[in-house]
Subunit: 689 residues, 2 copies
Amino acid sequence: MPPQPSQLILLIFNSDFSNSCLFSILQQNKGPGVACDFELHVNSLVGCRQSVQFQSSEFNMPSEKSEKAMSPKITGELLRQLRQAMKNCKYFSEPIQAYIIPSGDAHQSEYIAPCDCRREFISGFDGSAGTAIVTEQHAAMWTDGRYFLQANQQMDNNWTLMKMGLKETPSQEDWLISVLPENSKVGVDPWIIAADQWKNMFKALSSAGHSLVAVQDNLIDAVWPDRPERPSTQLRSLGLDFTGISWQDKITTLRAKMSERKITWFVATALDEIAWLFNLRGADIEYNPVFFAYTIVGMSTIRFFVDLKRLSDPAMREHLQLDSPSKPELSIQTFPYESVYTELQAICAALGPKDKVWICDKASCALTQVIPKTHRSPIPYTPLCLGKAVKNATEIQGMKMAHIKDAVALCELFAWLEKEIPNGNVTEISAADKAEELRSQQKDFVGLSFPTISSVGPHGAIIHYRPLPETNRTLTVNEVYLIDSGAQYVDGTTDVTRTVHFGTPSAFEKECFTYVLRGHIAVSAAIFPNGTKGHLLDSFARAALWESGLDYLHGTGHGVGCFLNVHEGPCGISYKTFADEPLEAGMIVSDEPGYYEDGSFGIRLENVVLVVPAKPKYNYRNRGSLTFEPLTLVPIQMKMMNTELLTQKERDWVNEYHRKCREVVGAELERQGRQEALEWLIRETQLII
Amino acid sequence: MPPQPSQLILLIFNSDFSNSCLFSILQQNKGPGVACDFELHVNSLVGCRQSVQFQSSEFNMPSEKSEKAMSPKITGELLRQLRQAMKNCKYFSEPIQAYIIPSGDAHQSEYIAPCDCRREFISGFDGSAGTAIVTEQHAAMWTDGRYFLQANQQMDNNWTLMKMGLKETPSQEDWLISVLPENSKVGVDPWIIAADQWKNMFKALSSAGHSLVAVQDNLIDAVWPDRPERPSTQLRSLGLDFTGISWQDKITTLRAKMSERKITWFVATALDEIAWLFNLRGADIEYNPVFFAYTIVGMSTIRFFVDLKRLSDPAMREHLQLDSPSKPELSIQTFPYESVYTELQAICAALGPKDKVWICDKASCALTQVIPKTHRSPIPYTPLCLGKAVKNATEIQGMKMAHIKDAVALCELFAWLEKEIPNGNVTEISAADKAEELRSQQKDFVGLSFPTISSVGPHGAIIHYRPLPETNRTLTVNEVYLIDSGAQYVDGTTDVTRTVHFGTPSAFEKECFTYVLRGHIAVSAAIFPNGTKGHLLDSFARAALWESGLDYLHGTGHGVGCFLNVHEGPCGISYKTFADEPLEAGMIVSDEPGYYEDGSFGIRLENVVLVVPAKPKYNYRNRGSLTFEPLTLVPIQMKMMNTELLTQKERDWVNEYHRKCREVVGAELERQGRQEALEWLIRETQLII
């Protein structure tokens, strides 16, 4: 799946929406500190095109939601209740004049659970990005170009859409200052606003004579009678055969890092970090095997905040050594999920003058502010995030196994598609379903790692396209088919994209595919010094496209978790100059350049690759070198290649890659007795010359 | 010259210093926000080597200074006087307990004039980077690894050397806090500290109960009786035939940008920006054709602050239309250089509530703080900086002419070297002198654009090596020779590096040279989308080296001025992810990868290149493409190439480059009747196959 899920997609619709042919006319990654880029692109595009409309193709939008997307939610009564709550002194000492409702949960997760969809509840707008602000008189929604049309359709007249990225659209701060009476109070739930966002808003409002107030009780929850429960799915413990390192050893390593930096406490808030630390998995958020929890680690204590019911299972208690800890400092004290705040308060009240507390600067304002500023030591990436990114030998072995199983399923899928497509009854949705069915037959399959992007012809140019009943297209021998999919297995997470043609691709399609392939190889085969940051490799993926005046507007790769989130930090390969951490052996990232011809086709070629040591001729300053080893082992369709455009080195790379696919995946296909897929694999891994 | 002059160079000396063989064991660019990098490198090196000593090879250190470098300056009496001044209420209401003496001038120039070498005066230490702090009891000097040895040699026992980059070395803030009595006042000259540096120091001291005080009168000047005068060299006005745009039109363009961003005033403090704006040049700072001045531009007024004596010449008055302005809003009001402060105060006193003042965030604290915070609009790059970076047709033509003349001089130099070296009487210094002599014969020669780096054998591995009498080495047929040099001509600035061998290079030298050449070509021939930032091209220069486990630890390119500073912003090509501006047609940068084999040889290959539109096959999203056109036209020594390591495309590039050198420079050599150099050129531009 392409890196950075927050994508700006501007789409043009034909007049007949039900047969809409969607053109992605602009796709732009959003990352920290790139608001400016974003704005420029939108402005220049909006300025030069007429009749531009907008629609979302966000992948975390379940289809049921989309089906209701066309009729706005009636919000008059809800807003009346919310405004009532804003005046209600049960929640604060004085009434507030405005209330901010951000997207997101208390863990700043990329995907969120239904109970955290508060902005959607109050407004009807269910896009993945958006911030609502309700004042006594107004209700306004800020969202980006992906969602202008959708938000307009889903929200009723009570709401004003604030089109982010357009010059005339005020910022939330400026708008608040323009509409609020003097000395107003603006409330926000401090749990769902990150510490740095709070800081900016606080400054802007203060300088205009207003104040920003942390409202501990969420006011949306107060007017949301049938709000879903916070999920509390069954926890799964992972043994050493899957994790390679016990949670006890992870704690010890963490404490060593704390002590090295003279840190006395560490507060973990990111769900995947907590899951990784304790070698536990959950299913609280779709596609992400995580569970709601917090952890506070001191030099001799471990506090674990989670729905305590989840810990009643004897095996779970045994895993966490709740009843008989091996050492006192490895004894886990368990607390209800909700008590993290008071417990952190108690810890902070007892801090010595030199005590320092680590917390990620992306953590919630609520928890961050519990820690007195002089004791707070904010970090961009926690030691857990860094530890999790560098996979150990067991995790690498698991990831390899998961990718072999995944390749088996995909070989079967492609063999099946080849056979079925001429019958005219395979659609984007049924192909995606078939892929899931085939994956689910593999050992230790848990679920998908993200919604399958199954796209035919022009849909392929919509980078995060997800087929919906109203857009579903039939696969034919006349159009390019792009499938970007992945799964969670207990031993690893996969994410692979292949672009194929079941008939005869055009010369232009082949040309573009070959440039993308050259870019993919340039990254995958690159040798680079230890300590190189991923963003320095991004241009390698583009050089062949650039040479012909082509490009793609998304990053080239993202970190991939091991039976964890398919997108994870702190490494990646992107032209955005974000603060990525240097690549090191054991890290796993995706390599996925693409090319998107609006209205015609999309090409993307994605392997998950492992960072491994390289041994070139020299070793400058003893730094050592690195390169990548593909974990994904699915043939790259030769029919799509114009081999004349490949250098001998590139042809060698393709042949060697296919040799490995045939050897490794072939053996597994044989073991599983999947003869048809094996024949397909052998045919698709012939030598190219 | 390599980008980013602030280089960290750690050198190992043999016991016999006069015949010292210098090994650059670490070179590291320093740029905004890279302190961390820097620290890591030093730590790891210092940790793993014994007997490491340090010496500077900084290029703005005149040799006379270096000759005195070995005996420390006696500073006891000076420090007594300074401490007296720190208590002297003539300068402030209450005594200060510490005084900070940064490097630099009031314009944050890269090179400074003798009158601004205050830190050198008080301490004796004359390296290009260093900050002194004097308290009642202590005198301490912070400098980086390039200068540890030199600073120790140049400073007497009154001074403590603070080795930046070593773990145990406290920051200036931490050290101050540790040594100061409670509630201390720390003084600094607000003119020579940049606004952001002030802010950091201010915060740190405040949080420890101290205060940072701006001392308007410089206390070093107060104890420096024979301080040199501020230079006030004759100004030179440039006509439209050199500048392409009148200063009046530049003012109009600036005002249009101000009005677009609703800015009412603009304060220019960078010397090259002011020189560019008014089409004037000076010679106040060696190698940089600039002059001391400030400018404040309003929507209808222009204030020019400069030594008024410089404006007495009638031609100068005519150039600036001082006596008969064409339009009232283009009338320049002249003020003494020193009155910028009071004049800016007066302007700020009369600001309307919505008035905004642009000032570069790198400007001095003194001027920045005159502007009330609510009216201040700090920018990383001023419109003058951006305007200056994009050369117009006349400037491009001038730069081309300057590079042809420069190539003539270098062809002559190399022909002469070939002839003379076997006689054994050419040294690094005499070769550099010969290069200067040959350049000075060319039309409109003004001077060098930086001190020539003329280095033989192991000296070549010292990136900013400058030959000194005590290190001077003879050129032979046995060692690689690297010469990095450039000149100021009235029509343009040059900067070129060639690495040559006058005998038979070793296979390894040729191999490394060829990788560097491949990197140079990869950047020079790259095609990339309009709007690409230079740092995205940096890895292209390294890929061939990386493939063999090699690298170089400096950036790949810097912006080059047009008869202005040889280093200029805001564009460049570097792996540092600094906020460079996107490349656009008309910008001029250097392309200079290298390889440095410590103790043996250095290789660098530098052309100045012009950003030009490219016309590849396709034009994705109508963005347009760019590439580079070499302005430098000096043959690249074929003897140093292992052509077997070059692809056909790369060989074609070399042949085409040499064809152009022969055609363009050959014609000029012929015109100038320089037959021997012409023969050399023809021989050195044969086809390679």
